[in-house]
Subunit: 336 residues, 4 copies
């Protein structure tokens, strides 16, 4: 059994990692750290894990975690992962970092996050569908939730050099804002509402530019996020303006070829919705084209806590350990 | 124009008072206090009041408020109203207290709230339909939200001495928990959920016992509250066990007679719901009877922030100033 | 008193007209037609109107309605208004048509709706902020809900000729889909979801192109609608690509000048949300600009049933009858 | 592999059976019938099952289904199961009937459902925790959703003869109303609302009376259901009036003893909620006691589609085939 640790396990991504790993046949979670909840039962904080774990949260340093684990998931805020990742790597532990610390080149990171990077390391960007090299990585930077849905929606066309300009208008469930109550997540504010925020400045735009830019250096990317009255899910509406006119079947072909070996990408003839991916690691993609063939609207749907975070992390872990990509993740969504 | 002040105006009941009074033809809100928001625009905190008020929150003491007002609404937490009410009364200002401080005899208050009462005063319990004497009151204790819906559901039968036992199972919108974010009001916790709480010990039970006990000294009252994924509204399911069998038309007669002069009580042939009272001061009541005629299930629906708080406060104010009970309140619900 | 009739009064816009007119000091609704509900109480179908109207739905033809009314609101599906509007106009009644039949030149209408127009008439497009000539109109075509929010978000910049391309990504409450249950409005499908639809082909795009095209003939307009788990409201995210760079204060100036005489437009320093407009006739507008000054994201928020339908219809009626634009509509939103 | 068939597979319980069985190591679903959807892909109707099944709905009669199956789940409306169950049983197939047809003695059924029973058979009531004899059954009547949560909340005390009177006030997610859109499930009606219905006459009361009556012939049972703005889940608030005073630890002991061998019952020190059981087969139970020790409020939480329907059906199937009760069902809830 692969022994896994979770640093920063009290939040939603920590709980989701434990939910997904509860039934993984090759992995056992052996430690879960939380400074704040040191000594309390994991299942008291994550009540859906009652009967599934007797672990208690511990306040351990990186060395103590590395000593008992083959792989460590760092589920801490950006700026904190860089404090523990180097020591974990030096101990020979594989690391999947769910924070933003290793997703961008360190200089880009510093500019985007306004923060000095204390410990740059080489990492693979863990969007498996674009980065098969995660198989050989010891440090994987698990992608942001928005970049996952947006990049997957546009990558096949970007790889063909077809996109002039991409405008990603994303709608996320509020669980993305985390476990701590805030004005944004206060029920009377969020219910019967939709909150647009950081209309032109959300940091996740940098990951989209990096990943689509790798495929086509000239692509122009804009990104505007919203939160909607849903707990889970991100629907991304990608308004793609093309360099040359094309037609529906050509586009369908491009997507099918691009994703033919990716079990978690489902290409639909209809428009994706959040229900059919809820709780699962799938990314559903569908599209429609303007009459003139120059504007395409592609819609992608993921569960932000699964394919957008913890599920993708497990998918990365599977590949890093030579396991089948789908192990422990091959579950239908919970719908309705 | 009647000059009104609101002490503790930054919460939901404060905002709702200003919403309702914005169109009251005989009242002007002249001051709104908040220690925390001193100096900020009221409409920045209550964004629905943009274009309706230029007031700023002020940090004023009771005397300063009394000096400029004919009536003061105290919308502060229990235990705080007793600090300001005596001085307001001594200044000759009429007071409508939305806190719990004056709803119960002081000794009952102390027992229920575990708090010494520093300033007992005579007050009228402001459930207008049962207390016509609010017309002559200078201090009205505005009822709790749950007691309003529960008492109105059972009062007509209690007044006839018919009820052996009343079990009130109430379901409230989360706005009743206030403007401050908390675990209970955190969207991921409240959505797709219902939270039962204080199953046998909620303090509002004391008001129900007092008010129904006034009508029938032997009635037995149980009360269990819940919060549901709704911003506004309280639906109370009153399970009433009767001393003697009766029938549908007798019960209907009793309710119609009891409420014949009460414009805000609407007796339905169907089961009340929250939508048709949302944003309005109505209390809708409907019922069904067990085949044996000994158990009645009465359902009442109110908007917790209107009939359950600020609307009822305005209704009280109208009567205290000799105005028509419905003035400024005669608006349909916002449905759907 | 102005005598008003509503043809097709059983739907949400019919109910909303009656809610708004219930407190209008100069208007009385004297007839409400519905073939399906002929003879039933209006308040049975619109339960929030209990105590506010004793009207029954009637099955009347246009002539019978015209005979008793000074103004008629036609709240029927597109394709049906053209059957009654001519006769109403000939009877000297003023008409506000909430359907799509008179919003577009008849040839454009026929192309967009795939329907022969049986009775073209001259009408004013009832977006009051852009069409002061509604004052003199006898037939006003009340705008679609999406075009209202989208056009108002972009019009000031379009009037300056600054916009190269506008992408409107709109998120609507599900009440826009009407009173009849459907798969889209089925709670298990809509909750915890967001449904993108007609990604490139929604008919309301034609109204946006018409209205913005009037201001700038070269503007390119794309439109994609979504429904979100909210009953009311439309939030429109307008991604505006500008011809020349500009800055924040210039844009703010342009909006302030453009809307300086429009009481229902509120320009915010923050990002609009649905709560502060819910149940009200306001359109809140805010924006942020990309660092390079060439892309602007403007967000507008309206209540789809008020400013997006029935409220705007009353606003039009007020102007057509020489009343103050805000009469009967000057109410704060119901928030939270 | 056990070959399973589902008769009436197009509804929510059918989809949920296939979701749960998708990962069951010993079962394969080999046919799914639907008259209406004959010939269409199962995954088109149940979009969360894309990639998990290539089955098409078929229009088969009972004999054809029995011919290919070891076990058949009948997920049809009450009154319809009795048309197919006898033939299935005669073919030697085991049957788990999710309808109401075999839950009550046929004479009680006829009275409660107002319907002649065409084919009475002996069946075991499939509430596993009370009916270990399901192990030997060839026909199991899968319990109603409400009776599952209510009966489990009260059974331990009923078995001790302690309950004088039980009032079950239940709050269900709207998925219990099924896949077909209706006024009750119409989003604008259900959102921000709670709908009480059949206040004293819901048919599920009969199952509660039967099951608790088996434990204590004198118990008095009342039941009132509600639907809340949640897709899944039933929270039951059981107001239990006891014959004699007791205390908290005695009650806790009684529940622990009663359920000590039942893996899906989780006894909490806190009040159950819907999130921690969502998508799972657990029934969480917690309680509080009145100061006088005579009234107990017990709260139970289940997922209506899992423990309240399809999960319980799989649990029954496991036992009927000598498998571990938890097989295929031992998954944490999806929370948040």
């Amino acid at each position: 059994m692969i022994r896994a640790g979770i640093i920063g396990a009290s939040g939603y991504t920590g709980g989701e990692l434990m939910r997904l790993l509860a039934n993984h046949p090759e992995v056992e979670v052996v430690c879960a750290t939380s400074r704040r909840l040191d000594g309390t039962q994991v299942s008291q904080n994550h009540p859906h894990l009652r009967s599934f774990t007797n672990l208690k949260f511990q306040n351990l340093d990186a060395g103590e975690v590395a000593g008992q684990c083959d792989v460590v998931f760092t589920a801490v805020p950006h700026g904190s992962a860089m404090d523990v990742v180097p020591q974990l790597l030096e101990s020979g532990t594989k690391v999947i970092d769910l924070s933003a610390d290793y997703r961008l080149p360190y200089d880009v990171f510093e500019q985007v996050y306004g923060l000095e990077h204390k410990a740059p390391r080489d990492a693979v960007f863990g969007l498996v569908e674009l980065h098969p090299e995660v198989c050989d990585a010891s440090l994987v930077a698990n992608p942001g939730c928005y970049p996952t849905g947006a990049t997957l929606a546009a990558a096949p066309l970007a790889a063909e050099g077809l996109i002039e300009q991409a405008i990603f208008d994303s709608k996320s469930g509020i669980s993305g804002a985390g476990v701590e109550p805030s004005q944004a997540s206060h029920y009377p504010n969020m219910a019967e509402n939709i909150q647009a925020y950081k209309l032109t400045t959300h940091r996740h735009g940098a990951e989209m530019r990096q990943e689509l830019g790798r495929l086509d250096g000239n692509i122009k990317v804009s990104f505007t996020p919203h939160v909607i009255p849903s707990v889970r899910g991100i629907l991304t509406t990608a308004h793609l303006f093309l360099k040359a006119g094309t037609d529906h079947s050509q586009v369908a072909d491009i997507y099918q070829r691009f994703y033919k070996d990716n079990p978690f990408i489902r290409l639909l003839d209809s428009i994706p919705m959040l229900g059919p991916v809820r709780g699962s690691n799938f990314c559903d993609i569908g599209f429609e084209m303007d009459a003139d063939g120059h504007r395409l609207v592609v819609v992608s749907a993921i569960d932000n806590l699964v394919k957008g975070a913890s599920g993708q992390a497990v998918q990365n872990m599977n590949l890093m350990f030579g396991l089948d990509e789908t192990m422990g993740l091959w579950n239908p969504a919970v719908f309705p």
